[in-house]
Symmetry: C2
Subunit: 580 residues, 2 copies
Amino acid sequence: MKASQFFISTLKEAPADAEVVSHKLMTRAGLIKKLGAGIYNYMPMGLRVIRKVEAIVREEMNRAGAVELTMPVVQPAELWQETGRFEKMGPELLRIQDRHGRDFVVQPTSEEVITDIARQELKSYKQLPKNFYQIQTKFRDERRPRFGLMRGREFIMKDAYSFDRDQAAAKASYQVMAAAYRRIFDRFGLTYRAVAADSGAIGGDLSEEFQVIAATGEDAIVYCPQSDYAANMEKAEALAPTGPRGAATQALTKTATPGKSTCADVAALLAVPLNTTVKSLVLATDETNEAGEIVKTQVWLLLLRGDHDMNEIKVGKVPGLAGFRFATLGEIENHFGCKPGYLGPIGLKKPLKIVVDREVAVMADWICGANEVDFHITGVNWGRDLPEPDMVADLRNVVAGDRSPDGRGELAIERGIEVGHVFYLGTKYSKGMNATFLGDDGKPAFFEMGCYGIGVTRLPAAAIEQNHDERGIIWPDAIAPFTVVICPVGMDRSDAVKAAAEKLYADLLAAGVDVILDDRGERPGAMFADWELIGVPHRVTIGDKSLKEGVVEYQHRRDAAATKVAVADILARVKGRMVV
Amino acid sequence: MKASQFFISTLKEAPADAEVVSHKLMTRAGLIKKLGAGIYNYMPMGLRVIRKVEAIVREEMNRAGAVELTMPVVQPAELWQETGRFEKMGPELLRIQDRHGRDFVVQPTSEEVITDIARQELKSYKQLPKNFYQIQTKFRDERRPRFGLMRGREFIMKDAYSFDRDQAAAKASYQVMAAAYRRIFDRFGLTYRAVAADSGAIGGDLSEEFQVIAATGEDAIVYCPQSDYAANMEKAEALAPTGPRGAATQALTKTATPGKSTCADVAALLAVPLNTTVKSLVLATDETNEAGEIVKTQVWLLLLRGDHDMNEIKVGKVPGLAGFRFATLGEIENHFGCKPGYLGPIGLKKPLKIVVDREVAVMADWICGANEVDFHITGVNWGRDLPEPDMVADLRNVVAGDRSPDGRGELAIERGIEVGHVFYLGTKYSKGMNATFLGDDGKPAFFEMGCYGIGVTRLPAAAIEQNHDERGIIWPDAIAPFTVVICPVGMDRSDAVKAAAEKLYADLLAAGVDVILDDRGERPGAMFADWELIGVPHRVTIGDKSLKEGVVEYQHRRDAAATKVAVADILARVKGRMVV
């Protein structure tokens, strides 16, 4: 490609609404152009990146035996009503009525349509396993779209859906996809982790997120440097302490802590470590009748160490706590006779259920609220001052230094951007839509399903969050808009420069390298700034003076400076630095 | 590709709602699957065809210097309100409100968005000419979607938009696109015509439709077998007759024609040729005030030969007749004192404007209604029986045998399916959206624009309407889902068959041929029927018996029978019959 035949549009300033670096750089480099909130034009430079991402995804999906099709963007509501998602999904689902007043949605995913296809097309176990995928435009009406392509409303997603005859086969299909995803993310040339994820409300056991590592990532990733353990924060288990509980050494003492309502404040006031304090969290669960009216409410007290954070996913899995909410002030007053900030498990006004984090269960001589404003109790000990806990569970987020659940080291935490997800669905959709096939026993059986997504337009944004500097983007070769840029200096004044540039351009094209020749006639400074902003990984500069010495200049986007390379060697140098 | 790794789903019966052969065959061959009215899943076999169409379009668009980008499917209404199309477009434009109640549309085309991009990005004449295109999902909420992909609601279109500094440059850009379209349609391997088209209400001068010739086409195409003249019916001019008007030989006579209200019936009753009769069409035009109230109505009488049909586009271009409507019965009674069926220009109750077709203006001794029920007048002559016509115009559709407008032969008529359109837009959108650039005189000027569409998902349907037989589809090589199918007979029983099939498969793949090996283990009859229905152009059958003779069987989809080819020669034979 020659720049004069292409469209290059760079900006000095980032848009005012750009909060993250990828949004700033994608806009400044002319990769995207905002049309509305969360809705972007994919400009020519950006579309090249997206197409390279798509090509890698498509190749590896095909290699893994998945078959591509395309489902409509605008989908009739009937199928979405069949699974109940038309009502359940809330305003994120963009709803439309056509000219006849019939309901439609713009697809956010396509479980319903693919299950409808499967129940019509896959009639026998002999047709299984089958994996269908599409690379298609999606829409989610985010309440607060932001961060450019990171959390847009319209986006491109690759979504695949596997259909199997039984759980074992479905798990095998899941593993095939998980392996394909590793190949895909390896090929992108990004640092990433496949992390175990919670299977959530959608059901099923197997779930992994593919997280591109970046300091700016929204998600906390837990991993073990000594092993291959990795999970997201929701999923990562905090193991039970191995040592025994310490013996009681202090007397139970009510202590004035005027105005100190947090564990941190209390520990500071009393000059004790934060991990000797215990925080009290009050939750509630409601039982409703068929009309949806609340007929019974249970209040719960959760005890966590002062330096630990509650993990809502884990708490939701404690028997009885599914669908919990935080208690109201009235409920708290009613049970504790005290306002929050000074609560504790001793001297309750009214009994409630107590659940204790694994760490709290082994503490001795701890500190908690006295259920009296401006007072805490120190020297609290299980068994002596209150009964032994009857429910102990993993309630907290892990922290760096916790033992790895695989027992092979200590956990570390870093941040990531979720760009892929593989997920074992089980029979959630096949049962919901009565999608069956005939098994080898001649009886109908529900499909065992999996779903597998990659955020095609989010991936470039994540790549930039991971790979940039103060000058701009630094693309991995595999997804760069162009792999090589040739920057001739004074091409209009020097026939030698022009000839050398054209020759190298032709040589690189002939070698199958995706090269752009910048024949716009820009000044060198502006030209270099453009390409550093755009982030093309390999640059060859050709100038009249160096050409007389028989050399041109090569600079990788990560190199501090250019190096002189003999004209005869430049093709080999570029190819030598390329990561294919 | 091996069939066992792919997805093949054929049907014996066409769906009940399929009226045209392409809809029937695309459904039966498993290329598409209906999701809702006018909304289809592109199944794996169909998607391969669509991708090949896209690839050809993309290559030629790039070669012609156009630059690809992608505009959102869901577009904010603001831009559409700027041009007025949000209100004007009617229910075909699918309108949406998001969670905040803001208006959006699903794009049916993208003139507004691309003009918005241009007015922000193309600031100087130095950046022109520029041509941007996308291959993207579109939606038109057709009142009566039908014919499968021929008139669907959701579809894929390639739409390109050129921006130029002046008319001359815009016309040059138009010609570049028109030439690219010829290359594209040549490469599809279809019989087509580029026909001159009316530029319609959208304005501008240059307009050509690319019509795939098919007996089932919706459009009538006019062409001259002796020259390269071709136009659609709306556009094709009926030249004025060259000979002089004949002399009057008959007396004006009122003749009873009881119950005969059509020219055909009158001609039959009187035993005269239909082309001696004249039909009277009564139109009206309304003048409105700013409030949209009708302040004045003009009634018009149009005279056409009894064997000719009115051309509404041409009539709308007669000075004063823009926006015409057919007159009401009341208006007709008021002016003629007679009901339709017996109307004529002689003895009017009230004056009106008369417009006469070119052919009628040279008629002598003609027949028209007497403005009295059950009576006509014969022997009518201009000048003698009524004043010479003061407005003569081309009002009719041409018919086969008319002189070609280029004066180089006689017109013929065939039917076609419109799949592409190139169109000079002028400044319609740039003025409507105040889209300007700085000219070389330092002054802002409006972009001169063109737009260029190809119906990517309609093309396969048109190809099938042109290329099919009683057994199924016959694809041109360029857009076939697979170019070659290898059909091994008894592959599971014969190692020799399996080895020969696998070897040919590997050889064809190595030669870059898009081949599928049918390893499903179907019986030969079912296997052949599938591939004939699907329409793969080249088939190689490998059987144990013929293999012992050292031969396999080759059959092109258009061949009446298979021919034996030595195993050593089959690759060359297949490649020899391929049209690249």
